[in-house]
Each structure stands twice: as C-alpha cells, then as structure tokens.
C-alpha cells in the first residue's frame, strides 16, 4: 500500500471508531424511559397526577417486573417513572394500586408523611398510618417515597387471589385495585428521586434487585421545573 492509501485507511478507521463511540453513547447509554408531565388543572397552581402500580408491567424487556404507569394529559398510559412537575405548586395524586401486598422491611414506612395534612385517602378513607398487619393479609404493596420532599405514602395491596386480579399492565379500573389519593407541594427546581420501600423485586435477594434498581419500574425522578 502506498503512503497515501495507508493514511486514508487510518483516517477512515479513526472516523469509524468515533462513529461507534457516538452511537454507543447516544443510542444506548443515554436512553431513558419517557418523561410524562402532570396534567394541569383548572385551578392555578394545582396539577393532577394519575398513576398506577402493577404487579407485572407486561411490556418491555422485563414484563414480569413490578412497575408504574403514568397517565399523560391525553389519558394514555406510559410505563415510566419520570414525572415532570411545575415548581411551587400542589400536586393532586391519584394512584391505582393493582399489586398484591406483603411485609414492609422496615415498618417505619407505614406512616404517611410529607403529604398535605400528613394523610392520604385509601379508598376514600383518610389514614395517617397504614397497618401492614391489618386489611387481613393483603399487606402493603408499595410505598411512594420521595426523600427530598419528605414524602412517604404506603399503599395497601389487593388480594392476589382476587378473581379479577390484574396480571399484566397497564391495568384498568375493572380489575381489583386500591385507590389512594393525596396531595403534596413541590418545592423549588430540582430532580427529586423517589423509590419504593417494600422489597418488591420478586426473585431477588432481599427483594431489592431488578425493578427496585432500574429507572422506569420502582425508581424514578420527580423533575420539578
């Protein structure tokens, strides 16, 4: 090969390498689930957020994992945990819980904290503490916990033997569920992480693998902008 040909070949390989790196970064490392914005309401400073937690998301690479679906302004459900909220506003959360329950690893998370009035409405009833041992065996399915805003909302599970138990998401209201509603205030600009404190990663040691350690299932961000 002549000198020019060698130089050309080398330059082409450098370019190919660069392309490969850009592809890996943009195509894989930067990929995330979609971000869903809360629906604005007619009242200024108030937004609505409708979510559901399912025992198995039923879609994507890990259909058997537990996870969240968030409803966008058009009523479509997205399997994600990235939520965009406006700053200094009140968020009205409606959460449909379709999963069966179990034990809390640390019972301290049975207390509802950080919401308006430190309460949440479980099927319409105001509660401050949910007792994992009451509700006859259904236990706590998940908790919605935002450390940066001090929020902790545990959710009662439904019976896994219920006739209309939802086996794969997104579930609909005709299936067995618990409805939890609460309100909280967003703070200033920031990304607030949130997670669940029920060891709900089935098949993982201590229940904290899989969905618990992946954005889009049981871990996410409230992006307050």
């Amino acid at each position: 090969m002549s000198k020019g040909a060698r130089a050309g070949a080398l330059l082409v390989s450098f370019a190919a390498l660069l392309g490969l790196i850009v592809f890996a970064v943009a195509g894989y490392l930067r990929s995330t689930p979609p971000t869903v914005s809360a629906t604005p309401s007619s009242t200024p400073g108030v937004v609505n957020l409708v979510m559901q937690t399912d025992g198995a998301v039923g879609v994507g690479p890990h259909p058997s994992w537990v996870g969240y679906f968030i409803q966008d302004a058009n009523g479509a459900w997205h399997q994600t945990t990235l939520i965009q909220l406006p700053t200094h506003s009140t968020v009205h959360v409606t959460l449909y819980e379709y999963d069966s329950g179990g034990n809390l690893r640390n019972t301290v998370w049975s207390k509802i904290q950080g919401t308006v009035g430190n309460i949440a409405y479980v099927n319409g009833v105001a509660e401050n503490i949910v007792n994992p041992n009451s509700n006859t065996g259904n236990g706590i399915a998940h908790t919605f916990n935002v450390p940066g805003l001090g929020i902790n909302v545990p959710m009662y599970g439904v019976s896994s033997t219920a006739k209309n138990f939802c086996n794969a998401g997104p579930c609909n209201l005709s299936e067995a569920h618990t409805t939890i509603t609460f309100q909280f205030h967003t703070g200033g600009v920031g990304s607030y992480r949130w997670q669940c404190f029920v060891p709900c990663g089935l098949g993982y040691v201590d229940g904290n693998g899989g969905p618990m350690q992946n954005i889009g299932y049981m871990a996410g961000f409230l992006k307050v902008v």
Partner: protein
C-alpha cells in the same frame, strides 16, 4: 548415543499447529474463534434455560443466571476451540511427544490474529490489546467525569452511571494487571535472559487469548443492564444484581485465568531458560519484578477465582455462603476478594517499578544503584502484599482488634517502596541524565508515585482512615499509584521499546508533547480529588454537595485534557507506525541489555542464532573496562538502519 531429540519431535509435528493448517477464513484465527464462541454461547444458553427455566426465582425475576453463566462458559470453550488452541492438548491425549518446534511464521499481518507460539507475537498482541482495553476504560472514566460536572443535573441515569463506574473500575483493575507483563514481559524477558523461547509458549498464548473474550464479555454487561456494584462487588448487593453481574464474574475470572497462565510461564522461563552465565545477580531488574509478580499472581489469583465462584453459586445454584440469614456471611466475600485484591494492586505497582529501574540506568549512564536493594524491594512488596488485605476493611467492623496489626503491616510496605526511591535517587546521583521521552515518563512515575505513596500513609492510619475511607481521597490515592505509576511506566516503555518491537522510530518532539500534556493534566485531574475526598465526597456517587462543584468541574475539565493528550498519543503513535514509518536505528538508546543486541528490529523469529554466553551485568554503563554483556554474534552490527521484513 541418545536419540536425536529434535528430529524425533519434528517428525511428530505434522499437524495441529495453528497457522499451518486450513485455508483462508477456515484457518484458525480470531474469526473462527468468534464464530465458535458464538455457537458455544447459544448452546450454553439453551442448556441453561432447559435446566433452570422452571426455578421459582427465575420465573419471579424473569432472569436466568444459569443460562447466562453456561452460555459464557461454553463461549469460552468454543472460542479456544475455534482458535485452534485445543488441537495440541488433544494431540497430547493421543500420546504424541511434546512439540518444541515452532513453525516458521508467514510474513504479513494475519499471524497477529492467530494463536501462535512466538512470544514476540504474543507481546505485540498484548500491546495492542492493552491499548484497546485501556482506552475503552478511559472513555468510561470521561463519562464518569461528565456526570460529575454538576451536583444535581444528570447526564446519565443513576443506574447507568453506576454501570459505567463499575465497568471502568473492573476493566482497569483486571486488564491493567497485565499491562507490563503482557506486552513487555512476554516480549522482552526471553530476549533479556538470552533465550530463544519461553517455557510454556501455549500457556503464554492462551494467557493473551483469554483477554479479548474477557473484554467482550465484560463490555457486554453494559448492554444487559450492567452491574451496579462496582469493581469490588460486595455481596449481597452483587447477588441482587441483574445478568450484568455474571459478565463481571466471567470477565474477571477469565482475566484471572489469563494471569495464572502468564505468570506460570514467565516464572518458569526466568528460572529455567536463562542463558549460560546469566547468574541471578546479572538478571535484569525487569526479570526480578516479573518473578515477584508471577509468584504473587500464582498465590493470590486462585483465591479470587474462589470468591467469584462462590458468588456464582450464590447467584445460580442458590447456595447461601454470602447471605447471613442462611448461615453465610457477607464478610466472606470481603475477605476472599481482598485477599486477592490487595496483592492485586501490587501486581499493578511491581511491574511499573521494574520498568522504571530497567530504563533509568540506560539514561543515567550509570550502574543501577543498589541492585540487590532494588530486587529486595520488589520481593518485599510481593511478600508483604499478602498480609495487609484487612486494611480495606478497617471500617467494616470485622476483626476490629486486628486493626493495629494491619496498620503496622500496611505501613511496613513503605519500606520496600522506599527502596525503589533509594534506587532511583542513587542512580541519578552524578549521572549523565538524558531527558528523552522514556526517561521523562520514568521520572514522572517517581513524581506521581510519591503522592500516591505518601497519601498511602493517611489511608493506612486507622484514625485518619475513618475520614478518608471510601472517599475520593482513596480514589485519588490509588489513581496516583496505578495510573501515575504503572500506566506512566507503560507509556514510557512504549516509547522506549517501539524501535525494537516494530522497527520504527517514534518522534521525540511528539512524545514530549504527549508527556507534558499527560503529566500536567493527570496531576491537575487527581490532585484536587484529594481535597474533594477530605471535604466529604464519597466514591461512586452521582450527586454531591453543591460546595464541591468548582473542584469537581476543575477535575472534569482536566480529565478532558488528559483524554485529549491520550488521543494525541493514539493518533501520533498509529500515524507513525502506519503512515510515516521512519526506520529505527540500531540500539537507539545505547543500552547494554541483551534485548537490543539482536540481528534486526523487530527481532528475528528465533531471537539469537547462537546461544549468548553472558559475561557481565546489564547495567555496567560507567565501568569502562566492563565486558559486553554477552558474547554474541550480531549481523549488520555496523549498519544503522536495521528494520527487516517490512516495507518502509
């Protein structure tokens, strides 16, 4: 009269030698290896699904580690079968005499992609392999620094960030153990000791061919959700992880096997294949460092393999050795891992020191100062490295009353490390110092390692360790010892040996630009990290205190400059090897050591025509009456340009 041995063996070697059988794409090479490895993976994966598809935890999590592990295991078998590495073991099962003949190498570049018995080809394979691994892991480091530009805004997701951190750490720690042993140990040691061959050429070749598959498996973790448990992978977090953790286990384990193969070969070679007259006190310091390294690897790596194996069983066969509620203990992993893990960091340091002590006398024109001290320093490091592992666990709560003892042993390490400084300083005393590019890198090692060594005193002091353990201080400390030490030595060695290895010269001016930009940006990257750590930033975090942003940004920007400097190296290095190709002159640095006194650069296939008889040590630069190192017949000794076998 004895039977003529050489004839006997040659008659037996009609087949099975890679590179001589098969045609075109069917001759064993990296391509057939990859294809067979892929087939092996699919087979193993299918088998794993058949075995474990019905396990409750597999159904629950949708994750079948058994299938992944078996896939990897069969991929390795397929890979080696495809490379033709299993032909010889099978031939031995049929009772053929050991085959010492080395097939004549064909000209051209295909041999570099094959399983060969020539230690020089293995060395070159290692050199380019190591560069690929180093730069991959280096790019990941830049990704880490990009995330840390802001304490709150995130470039990567938190799990992706941890995947990148784990991938960077694991790839650097496991691959870079061979960064000097692989390219320069394998290439130079037989030449330095005056041998035509190594003791176990097939083990040596296997040691290299473990690394590409280990690299591919480890990197594949990123595409399977990675492992968020870092290079230390403490259980039970590592049991919790997704299938990326299996890639960690196999990647690290295969690298462990590679280390075992390489060190077995290098130890047996140095001990047995020294030329007549090459007594222990004439052996190059590089040889001593490789011996210390080899023995340390042999005695520590199996424990790593045990640890990884225990983790594999806990993840697949549901044993509970690392899980307390079933009679195991998470401390077990910490012990097994660090019993290997501490010698491991000396596996990185010792060859760096060997390289430094080897090159400095050439550019000081003086005998090495305290030859025995230097060898003793390396042996001392190797021995002590086995008695310090608990200093990684000072805050673990494990055997707390043993801490004073481990503090003592750890600080004792400073003594043999000090020997290395004594040797360097003594050698420079009243020397004639030539500040060539390799010499600059070696002086850079002394400068950088000083920070690493002195901060080691902080880290090993238990009361101070309370503050610095697990912080960026520790991170900066070991980057100074490893990157500032062995990686600088590696680049210096590249500049030093390229004329010999390739037959081409490297431009000194470009080398100096590379050195100074790398030296300055390296220090600018890692020096502030000591402060960052002392100010309270833990390792492996994606969020940190707002007040540390300025320092972190400084570090990130410096790291980009460091990246540019290394890119400059890659571009100029390849440009000079591929495009400009200036032929090398004979013995450009005026070294006495045997490796430079060969017929051509690169050295001919069988190194020396006759057996060299060693008459003096390699470092008698200032003794005007010293004999040449060996009685050796060199062709073309009077010619300056000696490159053979290539088109300039």
């Amino acid at each position: 009269m004895a039977i003529d041995f050489s004839k006997e063996t040659e008659s037996g070697s009609s087949s099975g030698t890679p590179g001589t059988s098969g045609k075109g794409i069917f001759s064993p090479s990296i391509i057939t290896g990859a294809v067979a490895g892929g087939i092996g993976y699919l087979f193993g994966h299918w088998m794993g699904n058949a075995i474990a598809g019905g396990y409750p935890q597999v159904i629950g999590s949708g994750q079948n580690d058994v299938a992944i592990c078996l896939g990897y295991a069969f991929a390795v078998v397929g890979w080696f079968a495809g490379l033709g590495a299993l032909n010889y073991p099978i031939k031995k099962m049929l009772g053929y005499e050991p085959d010492f003949s080395e097939p004549e190498l064909k000209p051209g570049w295909t041999k570099y992609f094959q399983y060969t018995q020539d230690h020089k080809i293995v060395g070159i394979q290692y050199l380019f392999g190591m560069l690929v691994y180093f730069f991959t892991a280096g790019l990941l480091a830049l990704a880490i620094r990009t995330e840390l530009l802001s304490p709150t805004h995130h470039i990567w997701g938190p799990s992706t960030y941890l995947e990148i951190v784990g991938e960077h750490g694991t790839m650097m720690m496991m691959m870079m153990t061979s960064v000097v042993l692989g390219p320069f140990g394998n290439f130079m040691i037989p030449l330095m000791i005056g041998s035509k061959k190594v003791a176990f050429p097939r083990l040596e070749a296997a040691s290299f061919w473990f690394t590409p598959i280990s690299y591919v498996i480890l990197l594949s973790a990123l595409w399977q959700g990675g492992f968020q448990s870092g290079w230390t992978s403490y259980a039970p977090l590592s049991i919790q992880q997704g299938v990326g953790q299996d890639a960690y286990i196999f990647g690290f384990g295969l690298q462990g096997l590679s280390m075992v193969c390489a060190s077995t070969n290098i130890v047996a070679t140095i001990i047995n294949y020294r030329a007549p007259g090459m007594t222990w006190n004439r052996l190059n310091i590089m040889g001593w460092s490789m011996l210390s390294l080899g023995f340390t690897m042999i005695l520590s790596v199996p424990v790593l393999i045990d640890g990884l194996y225990v983790l594999t069983l806990d993840r697949t066969a549901q044993t509970s050795m690392l899980y307390g509620p079933h009679g195991g203990s998470s401390f077990l992993w910490e012990n097994l891992f660090w019993f290997f893990g501490h010698p491991e960091v000396y596996l990185l340091a010792i060859p760096g020191f060997g390289m430094v002590a080897e090159i400095i006398p050439v550019f000081a024109r003086k005998p090495i100062f305290g030859y025995k001290t230097s060898a003793a320093g390396m042996i001392g490091l190797a021995v002590l490295s086995f008695f310090v592992w608990q200093h990684h666990l000072f805050q673990s709560g494990m055997n707390p009353d043993m801490r004073p003892l481990f503090m003592l042993t750890t600080e004792l390490i400073s003594i043999p490390t000090g020997f290395i400084y004594l040797v360097g300083m003594g050698t420079l005393w009243k020397a004639r110092i030539r500040l060539t590019v390799p010499m600059l890198f070696m002086l850079g090692v002394y400068f950088n390692f000083l920070f690493g060594g002195l901060t080691g005193v902080y880290v090993s002091d238990v009361p101070i360790n309370v503050t610095v353990h697990g912080s960026f201080f520790v991170m900066a400390h070991f980057h100074y010892t490893i990157m500032g030490g062995v990686i600088f030595a590696f680049f210096g060695a590249i500049y030093y040996y390229t004329p010999l290895v390739t037959g081409f010269q490297l431009n000194q001016k470009w080398g100096k630009i590379h050195f100074w930009s790398m030296m300055i940006s390296f220090n600018s990257t890692f020096l502030p990290l000591f402060a960052v750590g002392l100010l309270g930033q833990p390792r492996r975090v994606f969020e940190y205190a707002q007040r540390l942003q300025t320092l972190n940004d400084w570090v990130s920007i410096s790291s980009y400059v460091l990246g540019l400097s290394l890119t400059f190296f890659v571009v100029t290095f390849l440009w000079q090897l591929v495009v400009t190709r200036t032929p090398a002159v004979r013995n450009p640095w005026g070294s006495r050591s045997l490796e430079w006194h060969v017929d051509s650069y690169p050295p001919p296939q069988h190194n020396f025509k006759t057996v060299p008889v060693v008459m003096a040590g390699p470092y008698e630069y200032a003794d005007l009456d010293a004999l040449p190192m060996a009685d050796i017949v060199v062709e073309n000794a009077d010619k300056d340009v000696v490159r053979t076998g290539g088109k300039a």
